[in-house]
């Protein structure tokens, strides 16, 4: 019981208190603790990463051996891993080598396209979100429309009223982003900050123990 439950709680408490105290103590020892905390974290991370790689490989090998639906794609995924390792071993990791070219022309291209694909889905989501069913939905619609028009040159082109000293779409978008949007974001940030503060305290004091696996 002590080794499985109490010792981890003691480790959390001691490491938490030491790291909190070192922030407030301007001594060389604090710097030493901070520097080594970073190094220790990296060293633990090395083995945590092995766990992740093992999990990835196991999931795909299981799919292949069990001939699960779409198992052929698991071969492609595993082949991609092997290809990158072999490319790095043979050719190194220089910018002109195969390793970086595989990454830039395949992985980076696909990732950029996946994110650009969201332009279509976010547009259809906008159609649903921007329906003016209440006065608050109208506020959302107006804010979004002004921000969108304020981010493109055509917004300023349409802002004919600027001749009368009125703000352009760009100016209005900047004001919305910097004032009401900032106020809403700040309230959310304060909520997140207070929530994080309570969570860290609960962890250090041993109230929050879900990391023990529900025991």
């Amino acid at each position: 019981m002590f080794w499985k439950k109490q010792l981890p709680i003691i480790i959390v408490f001691l490491s938490g208190v030491i790291m909190t105290v070192q922030y407030f103590v301007p001594l060389h020892a604090s710097e030493f603790v901070f520097d080594n905390y970073i190094k220790w974290g990296i060293s633990i991370g090395i083995f945590a990463a092995i766990l992740g790689y093992f999990s990835f490989i196991r999931v795909h090998i299981m799919k292949i051996t069990k001939k699960a639906p779409n198992w052929g794609y698991s071969i492609v995924a595993l082949a991609g891993v092997v290809l990158m390792i072999v490319a790095a071993l043979i050719d190194g990791t220089d910018t002109n080598g195969y390793y970086m070219k595989f990454y830039l022309y395949i992985c980076a291209s696909i990732n950029a396209t996946v994110f650009s694909l969201l332009a279509f889905y976010i547009s259809s989501a906008a159609y649903r979100a921007f329906r003016a069913r209440s006065s608050q939905a109208v506020a959302l619609l107006l804010a979004a429309t002004i921000v969108m028009l304020g981010r493109v040159p055509i917004g300023d082109y349409f802002s004919f009223w600027t001749h009368w000293g009125l703000p352009s779409f760009y100016d209005m978008a900047q004001w919305i982003l910097n004032v009401p949007n900032m106020a809403a974001k700040r309230a959310i940030a304060l909520g997140v900050g207070l929530g994080s503060l309570l969570m860290t305290l609960k962890l250090i004091l041993g109230i929050e123990r879900t990391y023990l696996g529900g025991e």
Partner: protein, 210 residues
């Protein structure tokens, strides 16, 4: 128009189109591109992890100056415990590594959360109010907006009467904030799409657009 002669550009073009086929429906080409990027991405990170973390941050310090870096053995042992998660009987041993990471992470974050997440936000909200365009058009609205939005998230008291009115004002600020964020995100995604279209037109087909 000059078609590209670089085979890498055509490979990127093939995978770009493969991803766009998802707009039609989930299909073989999309799934292929999806798994290719998963595999190559994982391979990329494995090589990076080996070169920069294992060799750079762990093996080199230990092999070149063991005397002043021997303490790295302790987190390495804790890290090895992490791998026991693979064996259910000994999985509990991974709690030591988790406990250290969670505890020190919480301790590391605690003063920084107070500093950056709470005090800095309060400091940035408590702005001077005076009868200038900045004082009334910016600072006063930020203070009212932040307070009313915070009251909207305060569920310990029922949203009735004055509290309810202020909370309703908070909803207005939140809706404007969500609208602005949504509009901003739509434009960011569209600019990414324009970037891919420009890649096809300029890099693949060699069009001189502007």
């Amino acid at each position: 128009m000059h078609l590209s002669t670089d085979p890498w550009v055509w490979i990127a073009f093939f995978f770009t189109l493969s991803i766009f086929t998802f707009l039609w429906k989930d299909n073989f080409l999309y799934k292929l591109a999806e798994n290719v990027t998963v595999g190559i991405g994982m391979g990329f990170w494995i090589v990076l992890w080996w070169n920069q973390t294992v060799v750079g941050q762990f093996w080199t310090p230990l092999s070149t100056d063991f005397g002043s870096n021997f303490h790295l053995i302790i987190p390495a042992i804790m890290g090895l415990f992490m791998i026991t998660r693979i064996i259910p009987k000994y999985a509990w041993m991974s709690r030591y590594a988790l406990a250290f990471t969670i505890g020190s992470g919480a301790g590391f974050g605690l003063p920084r959360v107070i500093q950056g997440g709470v005090l800095q936000q309060l400091y940035a909200t408590l702005l001077p109010i005076n009868f200038t365009s900045v004082g009334l058009g910016y600072n006063l609205i930020i203070i009212i907006g932040t307070l009313s939005s915070l009251i909207y998230f305060f569920f310990s008291k029922e949203h009735k009467g004055a509290i309810g009115g202020v909370a309703k004002l908070g909803i207005w600020f939140l809706m404007i904030g969500f609208g602005a964020t949504f509009g901003y995100t739509v434009m960011a995604r569209l600019s990414l799409f324009i970037g891919r279209v420009l890649f096809i037109l300029k890099d693949v087909f060699g069009m001189h657009l502007f």
